[in-house]
């Protein structure tokens, strides 16, 4: 990251100087079950082998909001609006207290999703797309964002052989259908559409994630080599 750039006003109470952030921010985006965490692990090992210090982060991992968000998700109190704002709080806390300090210390930060996922989810749940974007005016622009692309049928296969259908990942809170399977297909289909639009708007590097994990990994490695490592 040569000079920190923000989508909006950033953090006006913090002054950043160019070269304040020698680290790199690499984001992996994509819907549920697309294989993001596997790829993050593989990238971490590879980058560490190359001699880089790596830090990773992901949605809902802020120590400030995690207990409260987990509790809220168990009940029926979280609406699309409060969910947007609560997740934005999580993101802000991680950005200021984990991601930025790590970048300042020269780390490669691997982010399992960024705010684009929450925008996609918010908009599918009826949020005003413009409002959802402005909410994240404090967000730092990453060095690169990969979109792991898949189709609903591939996601279904992963979910079936993995952790099973989840209430939130199936969009059951907005009653897409009367059962988890149909709801999952409708909801994830809508998310995939949102991601396609976001990819154009925010210049995501698209990666076909229906291939085996190792093939996807090699593809990511190659792209990081040419787009990030070659330039530092």
């Amino acid at each position: 990251m040569t000079e920190p750039k923000f989508y909006g006003a950033g953090f006006p109470y913090k002054k950043f100087k160019p070269k304040d952030m020698p680290g790199k921010l690499i984001v992996l985006e994509g819907t549920d079950g697309v294989g993001r965490s596997t790829q993050i692990q593989l990238l971490r090992t590879w980058l560490e082998n190359e001699g880089f210090a790596v830090s990773d982060t992901g949605l809902k991992r802020s120590p400030l909001t995690q207990p409260g968000l987990d509790a809220a998700k168990l009940g029926n109190t979280l609406s699309p609006l409060t969910m947007s704002l609560f997740y934005a709080t999580d993101f802000a806390d991680r950005l200021e207290n984990q991601i930025i300090p790590a970048l300042e210390a020269g780390f490669y930060v691997l982010s399992d999703r960024y705010f684009y996922s929450t925008i996609a989810r918010d908009v599918v749940r009826g949020a005003n797309p413009d409002w959802a974007r402005k909410l994240y005016g404090f967000a730092l622009k990453p060095d690169i964002v990969f979109l792991l692309k898949s189709d609903v049928q591939t996601l279904v296969k992963r979910v079936v052989t993995g952790r099973g259908f989840d209430h939130w990942e199936s969009g059951m809170d907005i009653h897409c259908a009367d059962n988890l399977y149909d709801s999952f297909c409708i909801y994830q289909g809508a998310l995939i559409e949102q991601f396609a639009a976001l990819a154009k708007e925010f210049n995501f590097v698209e990666v076909d994630a229906t291939r085996t994990p190792l093939v996807v990994h090699n593809d990511l490695k190659r792209k990081i080599r040419s787009k990030i490592l070659a330039k530092s």
Binding site: Y13, L81, T89, L135
Partner: protein, 228 residues
């Protein structure tokens, strides 16, 4: 009802509530920072001093959004007078005093309606500070704006922070058309002004017809919650 800590607005709201209820009008009272949804997170953030201006702002907007959707909006739709001890303007004043972008925080709260009447209790800093310091044993860390690093002394920091908040409120008078009440006047004269302002906006308003309360007026709905 807006104003800094110690501006006397809670006293005024209390008197107004009783006056409206006595007339048989349905009133719902809502307080800043009082929803169950984020209570534990707020407590954690405050006790561990984990907040940044941005995360503090976002969490309070989550709290407000929860009250907005579950209490304020349904009550308004039902034809109830909602009296809010602080509204989005509190966030615009405090969060901007803490350094967040003024437009960003306004956008954040754009899901909520503009109130029919916004009263701003303007009081000289010294008066408010004296009230707070004499009535409460200890000012809390964030109340004093200690997170801004203005001063190592809590009282000094509190004063400096409140001044920054006042500056923001003053800027909003024209922007949002606040009805300014001089908080240095006696309680009775303030209440007189408050009642006549409220009377004006209630002219011709029907709302939800409520039976007159028997004996002591009991609140039709009241939301508990910690003080801001």
């Amino acid at each position: 009802m807006e104003g800094i800590d110690g501006s006397g607005k809670s006293t005024q709201i209390d008197l107004l509530t009783k006056w409206l209820r006595k007339q048989g009008k349905p009133v719902y009272f809502s307080e800043w920072n009082s929803s169950e949804l984020v209570k534990s997170t707020t407590r954690l953030g405050k006790s561990e001093k984990m907040f940044t201006p941005t995360s503090f702002s976002l969490l309070q907007s989550t709290d407000f959004a929860h009250r907005w959707e579950n209490k304020i909006l349904p009550m308004l739709k039902a034809g109830v007078i909602v009296l809010a001890d602080r509204y989005s303007f509190t966030a615009f004043a405090r969060d901007v005093a803490r350094g967040v972008d003024p437009n960003w925080v306004r956008e954040l709260y754009s899901f909520a309606v503009m109130p029919n009447l916004a009263l701003y209790f303007r009081v000289p800093l010294d008066v408010a500070v004296k009230r707070i310091l004499s009535s409460r044993a200890k000012i809390k860390y964030y109340e004093a704006g200690m997170d801004l690093g203005l001063s190592d002394d809590k009282k000094t920091s509190f004063k400096m922070f409140q001044q920054l908040v006042i500056n923001q409120y003053d800027k909003m008078v024209d922007e949002f058309g606040f009805k300014v009440i001089d908080g240095a006047q006696s309680v009775e004269s303030q209440q007189k002004e408050v009642r006549s302002a409220v009377q004006r906006i209630l002219e011709g308003w029907e709302g939800l017809v409520m039976p007159l309360p028997k004996g002591n007026a009991t609140p039709i709905a009241q939301q508990g919650g910690s003080h801001d």
